[in-house]
Amino acid sequence: MNNRPDWLAHIILGLGVLLFVLPVWLVFAGSTQDPDAIARGALSPWLDPSGFGVYARVLSRGALGGQPVWHMLAISFAMALAIALGKIAISVTSAYAVVFFRFPFRRAAFWLIFITLMLPIEVRIIPTYAVMADFGLINSFTGLWVPLIASATATLLFRQVFTAIPDALVEAARMDGAGPLRFLRDIALPVSGANIAALFVILFVYGWNQYLWPLLVATDPHLDTIVIGIVKMIGVDSQTDWGAVMATTIIALLPPVIVVVAMQRWFVAGLTEGEK
């Protein structure tokens, strides 16, 4: 099997890495260059070491009279965190109910949750907007994340995780006198730790990348997420400060990367090995 030369593998891997890294590098290099040069289409592949000041500038002041980037970062971070934790909280409890309790229409309830897989936010955006408007949650931080936390995917995943918990473990806990909430807290959640971490990473990135819903529900610039902020920086006229746009893009990339790297060990464990 191992008679293929190593260098071939390295070339293929190298090309793959290049394919992913090159655009990011161009953005990074471009962020340090003269915005006017970029606007003329003269994007150099090399860094301009004198141009790093753009990062401090966008972080503290923003561009073109928009919000400072630190504020957008805070909004994005809070939103992504709320979405990830909210999704986990809702899906853990509903999956827990579906797996461990016998109640009428349990199966029907599960399938109802399941078919919402076919109804992502983009499909139900108008009715969702109407509901949020009725609640008076337009242009509020709550409105930004609440409609996004219902999650069939996560419920399905936790259903599988909980189903894999051996019956004997449930029974042992019952003999020990653990009630349903105590079992959830002391046994079911810790045992599913790796899966929760993996899901958290995925959901955090999902929340971070939200674009359409925040764009629609929050017109107040104080609620601009960093993704919205980047788009707003790109003016329709030739005024666009490309250096600022690229710097903000690089900044926007960092938190999801940090979350993934920080939780990598858990993330991989949760995706590959089932905890016994």
């Binding site: 004997a168 020990d176 046994i187």
Partner: protein, 388 residues
């Protein structure tokens, strides 16, 4: 410490009756082993007592208190599970302490009790480990410890040794017996392993298709099995069953082969099965004549035995009678040899257990020891009792 009484306990899943109404009484400190093939309802019985299943009818009385409608945790019962069911994310200490913590014991009391139990089981050095860092035998001991530390009125064991290798199983078996006697806690022990059942139980309950087949001491079950199921289940290799009919006023059995075998007592019946354990058969010396009438002769007809008194069947257990057996398979085990074969002239298969090493091929002559013969009614399978 308590007595346990089951009154008319019954369980069915849908239309399948898993456990027919059963009555059972355990004395204080008694170890009762429930044994049976898989699907006989033994685990269901245990789970009913534990409170993990709800019975369709009947009561569970523990120490004079009706616990039928109580939650498992309120029954003061501890259970050792087949797969140990240790909490994988908790240390050994936490595994043992968890139930005590829920009951609201103080930290000092929990510490004292866990340490005492750990010392009893030789787990003191392992208290900080996680279950995955333990060997199978150690996990088993932790599972025992989790039960013992609660100081319950009743222990339930659900095939606790079935996941261990053979050597460890023998050792743990002895440990469990010692512990149970020392703690004096009333115990129900479920197993499908008849050796475990024989060695551990003060009494055995053999379940067959959801109903009790026999309830008695291990030796009584072995020596006087109530029916053919019990006879075949207890003892390894299983008891041989030879089909025949009672003759001579019930004092002899005419086998399918025509052989007439005298019994030490008289029985009432017609179509019967003669049960004889493999170790109660032995090789007859060469030249031994077949049992009376082996050549298909009529009952009481001329006997083939030289110098025999004509009508009388050969006395059992004497070298004067033998069954010819066609050998099918020989298993030398060192200390003994198992011979699998078929009785020549009939349909009955037969297993013979000979001491030591025996070189066998083709066919052998086997004689049986009448005092160890069991007689069962062929229609009902029940053991027949001598009528005089």
């Amino acid at each position: 410490m308590a007595t346990l009484d089951l009154l008319g306990l019954r369980k069915s899943f849908g239309s399948t009756e898993v456990l027919r109404p059963i009555d059972l009484s355990l004395q204080d400190g008694e170890m009762l082993v429930i044994v049976g093939a898989s699907g006989c309802g033994k685990s269901t019985l245990l789970r009913l007592v534990a409170g993990l299943e709800t019975p369709n009818a009947g009561r569970v009385i523990l120490g004079g208190r009706d616990v039928t409608d109580l939650d498992p945790a309120e029954r003061d019962i501890a259970m050792v599970f087949q797969n140990y069911a240790l909490y994988p994310h908790m240390s050994v200490f936490d595994n043992m302490a968890y139930g005590l913590k829920i009951r609201g014991l103080t930290k000092a009391a929990i510490l004292a009790r866990v340490q005492e139990t750990a010392a009893l089981l030789g787990l003191s050095a392992l208290l900080d480990r996680k279950p995955r860092q333990l060997s199978g035998g150690q996990r088993q001991r932790v599972a025992m410890g989790r039960a013992i530390v609660r100081e319950p009125k009743l222990f339930l064991f659900d095939e606790p040794l079935s996941n261990l290798d053979a050597k460890l199983r023998v050792q743990m078996r002895a440990d469990i017996k010692r512990l149970q006697k020392r703690l004096g806690v009333t115990s129900l022990y479920v197993t499908h392993d008849q050796v475990e059942a024989m060695t551990l139980g003060d009494r055995l309950l053999i379940l067959h298709d959801g109903q009790p087949a026999q309830l008695d001491t291990p030796m009584a079950v072995f020596e006087r099995p109530a029916d053919m199921y019990v006879a075949g289940f207890i003892g390894a290799p299983s008891m041989n069953f030879l089909h025949g009919r009672l003759e001579d006023g019930g004092s002899a059995i005419r086998l399918q082969t025509g052989a007439l075998i005298a019994l030490p007592a008289r029985y009432a019946g017609d179509a019967v099965v003669l049960g004889i354990r493999p170790e109660h058969l032995h090789a007859a010396p060469a030249g031994t004549v077949p049992y009376g009438g082996a050549a298909g002769g009529a009952p009481g007809g001329p006997d083939a035995g030289p110098g025999d008194s004509g009508d009388a069947p050969n006395a059992l257990g004497t070298p004067s009678g033998a069954l010819p057996v066609a050998v099918d398979l020989v298993e030398p085990l060192g200390s003994e040899t198992l011979i699998y074969g078929r009785v020549i002239g009939g349909d009955d298969s037969i297993v013979v257990r000979l001491a030591g090493v025996a070189a066998v091929a083709g066919s052998i002559l086997v004689s049986l020891r009448a005092e160890f013969a069991h007689v069962f009614d062929r229609a009902t399978g029940r053991r027949l009792i001598p009528i005089d």
